[in-house]
């Protein structure tokens, strides 16, 4: 392991000829930094990071990176939650519209029921009225008009007596 004290690092940075070996440029080199880094010179030691610093300062690959990742995840989650909420709200609106429509339909159905009953009642009463008037015409023929034009008062008295007696007998 190389000496990693600050003076030694400074010496290595500014006196490269002493610590670095010149290497021949090789066109077959696979190192992508070989042409640009330090004019072809390869560092013999890691001068950018010391083990002591690494211990003192938090590395990006540690908690910070994790917290950043968590933050980003939570942010995504929030956006995703907003999307879900909007979808849920849209669904609820659709559901309300459907429910309102269904209720309106139900109300219309209910409102038709009394009308139907009224129509049936009206039909029945009309049928009863027709039956009564027809039977009156055929059987007795007693009407307000016929009695109001009667000249024979004896017959009128007898008619009134008989009909009232029938009622009193049935009562």
């Amino acid at each position: 392991m190389a000496n990693l004290s600050i003076p030694s690092i400074r010496e290595r940075l500014f006196n490269t000829s002493k610590h670095e070996t010149t290497t021949q440029r090789n066109s077959n080199s696979t190192n992508p930094f070989a042409a640009s880094s330090f004019k072809g010179n390869v560092l013999t030691a890691d001068v950018f990071e010391s083990s002591s610093k690494k211990a003192d300062q938090p590395s990006f690959t540690g908690k910070l990176k994790a917290s950043a990742l968590v933050g980003s995840i939570s942010g995504i989650g929030e956006k995703f939650q907003n999307m879900i909420n909007s979808v849920v709200a849209f669904g609820n609106r659709m559901k309300e519209n459907v429910v309102n429509g269904w209720n309106k339909l139900n109300n219309i159905e209910i409102s038709f029921t009394p009308a139907k009953e009224k129509a049936v009642s009206m039909f029945n009463s009309m049928k009863d009225t027709l039956n009564t008037s027809v039977s009156d015409l055929i059987s007795s023929g007693i009407s307000v008009k016929s009695v109001s034009k009667m000249d024979d008062m004896a017959a009128a008295r007898q008619l009134a007596t008989d009909k009232i007696a029938q009622w009193e007998a049935a009562a």
Binding site: S143, S148, M150, K163, W167, E168
Partner: protein, 123 residues
């Protein structure tokens, strides 16, 4: 339960007699209708007599105890009073009521006539 046909016949006979202009119809209604044991028949007869708006017919429902406004049935009495209040020409009825209040022998009949007269004066 009385047959609907009988009710209809009696109603038509009483209404017809009420519209018949012959004066004898008044006595028919009085004899047959106002003495009936059925409240509905007495009520219809009293209303028919009031609608005639003649002296003799009005006198029956105003001055006779147990008939018209003096009927034992509240329904019959109130219905007769209501028919009197509905008359377009109340002059004959008011005249009979005044005579009844002044001259009738029965106190209850006088009191009833006084009350109806007050109502008719307000209407």
């Amino acid at each position: 339960m009385v047959d609907k046909k009988i009710v209809k016949d009696v109603t038509n006979v009483i209404e017809g007699l009420g519209l018949n202009p012959n004066p004898e119809t008044i006595s028919i209604l009085e004899d047959v209708g106002t003495n009936s044991k059925v409240d509905a028949i007495r009520e219809m007869t009293a209303r028919a007599l009031v609608k005639k708006n003649m002296h003799d017919s009005l006198k029956i429902v105003i001055t006779n105890k147990g008939k018209g406004i003096n009927d034992m049935s509240t329904v019959v009495a109130m219905s007769t009073i209501n028919e009197l209040l509905s008359l377009d020409d109340k002059s004959e009825a008011m005249k009979i009521l005044e005579d009844t209040v002044e001259m009738h022998s029965d106190e209850e009949v006088r009191d009833n006539a006084r009350s109806v007269k007050a109502l008719m004066a307000l209407s």
